[in-house]
Symmetry: C2
Amino acid sequence: MALIVQKFGGSSVADAESIKRVAKRIVETRKAGNEVVVAVSAMGDTTDDLVDLAHRVTLLPAPRELDMLLTAGERISMALLAMAIKSMGHEARSFTGSQAGMITDAQHGAARIVDVTPGRVRDALDEGAIAIVAGFQGFNRGTGDITTLGRGGSDTTAVALAAALQADVCEIYTDVDGIFTADPRIVPRAHQVPRITSEEMLELAASGAKVLHIRAVEYARRHGVTLHVRSSFSNKQGTIVYNPAGPGLDENGAPVEEPVIAGVATDLSEAKITVVGIRDEPGKAAELFTTVARTGANIDMIVQNVSAAATGLTDISFTLPKASAEAVIAVLSAEQESLGFASLQHDDQIAKLALVGAGMRTNAGVSARLFRALSDAGINIEMISTSEIRISVVTRADSIKAATLAVHSAFGLDGDEDAVVYAGTGR
Amino acid sequence: MALIVQKFGGSSVADAESIKRVAKRIVETRKAGNEVVVAVSAMGDTTDDLVDLAHRVTLLPAPRELDMLLTAGERISMALLAMAIKSMGHEARSFTGSQAGMITDAQHGAARIVDVTPGRVRDALDEGAIAIVAGFQGFNRGTGDITTLGRGGSDTTAVALAAALQADVCEIYTDVDGIFTADPRIVPRAHQVPRITSEEMLELAASGAKVLHIRAVEYARRHGVTLHVRSSFSNKQGTIVYNPAGPGLDENGAPVEEPVIAGVATDLSEAKITVVGIRDEPGKAAELFTTVARTGANIDMIVQNVSAAATGLTDISFTLPKASAEAVIAVLSAEQESLGFASLQHDDQIAKLALVGAGMRTNAGVSARLFRALSDAGINIEMISTSEIRISVVTRADSIKAATLAVHSAFGLDGDEDAVVYAGTGR
């Protein structure tokens, strides 16, 4: 008997009919002889609707109260899902984040899990019941207050439960069939990969792939949880995200022939800021990014030009989420004198392409092939950043589709037929 | 500094605007130097909407899960109310039934309060905050599960908090100005009473007056909580429901001149069942009502005819909620042989009128005057039942309005002008 954690997102439980459909799938897993724990998100757009309601009451909702409000969403979906399962003759019990032992810090709206004590969930399983746990929510012991893990937190709930309960697998049900070599809406010939390492998945998620929440992948990697990403709308096999025992080995230590490249991720959500004419001297970059950090913006790529010897001045460019750009420009402008730069440039017409693959480590020439493919397609590279298993480049936003198609082909990732794209894209 | 508990029903917090209006009223009470605890119901029709949603998933929702579902309603309203108050610059904190220490038995859907341990509420007050508590919900220690108190339970939440916190008064905000001598929609000249004893209020609530939930009045009476029923739509004085120190005394033991009659209640929600030709022998009625009790129906009035000496048979009539009649008829029909009666009659065209007043105890002739008034109006009485401070009669449903008007006049209750009836009637 295996213990399986299943996570269903908001689009999988958008209405009464969907809830019954999901209940049926859960019951099938139970009937196959497995213990089943389910993490569920709020129905459809419930969370957005509740946020709107809060904003109609006050422009700045108190974070503690906003968390109290939003957690009503999963309370509704989990109770309905448990009812649906019970009406099919199977025992089911719903648990809030607090009841399921999701202990977090006190950071309302973006709480971190500090402990998972799923005693009641384990008891429910021991009594033969299916446990339905509210995703996204937790509980702080110090204040006794309800917290939320932030957007996409239900993935993290599922993975944390899987780790604490030593589940055999954590199945993430979504509205796509699995992980693709590229976004099928950009690259029609993208194909689904049957297996991918958690390290590759992490780089893909960090580079804009939206199927899995990056925190969940991190948590799964750190705790050795195997993820299985699959569609709640089909019975296809999906993609296994696993933790290799070592480079070139599978999770059991057996040698595997890894493909060089796992996939290409694209990201149109970032902007670029360039600090023009800043003095090229030790400590200047630290000073600059200490100032930027005050805004809480997540800085992604950083590139510093070679200094012009004559002036001792240089330019520093960095990318960040578009939504953070305004605050960063404001704080830098206010410190222009003390930082001593000439001017700021803001560019929100950029896009990022990331090529990810664990096989890249042992394969020379990957970057050369990437740059050649882009050059052949007539696409200019504006920034480059690399990790051990990833190469990211920034291009003009309007070149990103051509760039992705070219790179996807150049690395032999094109499938034999077009990928199926489902209508729903929300998660 | 007084400690005031305020209860706001669903119609008072139906949308964002209403929530802001209620928040303003709460803040005014706080600014007047009081400690304030608020019990709040779910917004508008939220509870009904959630029940509908449950029924779209399954016809028979599991009671534990239905409670989990419904408690999402107050979670939303209380969080929004706390946000609204905080946005006005006052400290506020929302608490679920569980956090506020509303400990109940495990009877899902109709839980009884067994203990109230409002430590977190008291702490919030001590820190200068306004405490917002979810009405209607509780927590069972044995199972660790969330419960609900049943419909109208928010009144009970407010009263139980007032008792546990030794509040000076429990203000019940509703959509009418207070307690009236009769339903103003039936008797236009009904007038609001400034004060009424909890005993009278109990009889009025039991007789169909809907302003206060009967359990809340019982709880208030048993724990010596003074209620103040008032409108959330006006600033009028409302009605005080108090516990007299003794007959003819006010709550402090000072003598008062009680009016003989506090009011007239009407109730169109009951049906009458008559068991025809049942043997008039000891234990037969007990046997009959033991059978009826199996359905859980609340039996109200019972009348047994004088037995015909020749046959040794009698008829027994009783009233009960219309919705319970079908189940009672089914169970009695199934036991017809063992109970040994001739036939059943079912009549759902009845109405009940109850005349209530603590002064009735020491005033002879009240029932004579009641029967005279009905007789003068040409209204036939079908059943009669009395308590120390109440006389109830059953009439034809289509005579109830004329009956109520006649009785209201006969006891000198008519006011000088027509009562104001607000549009909203939901609670």
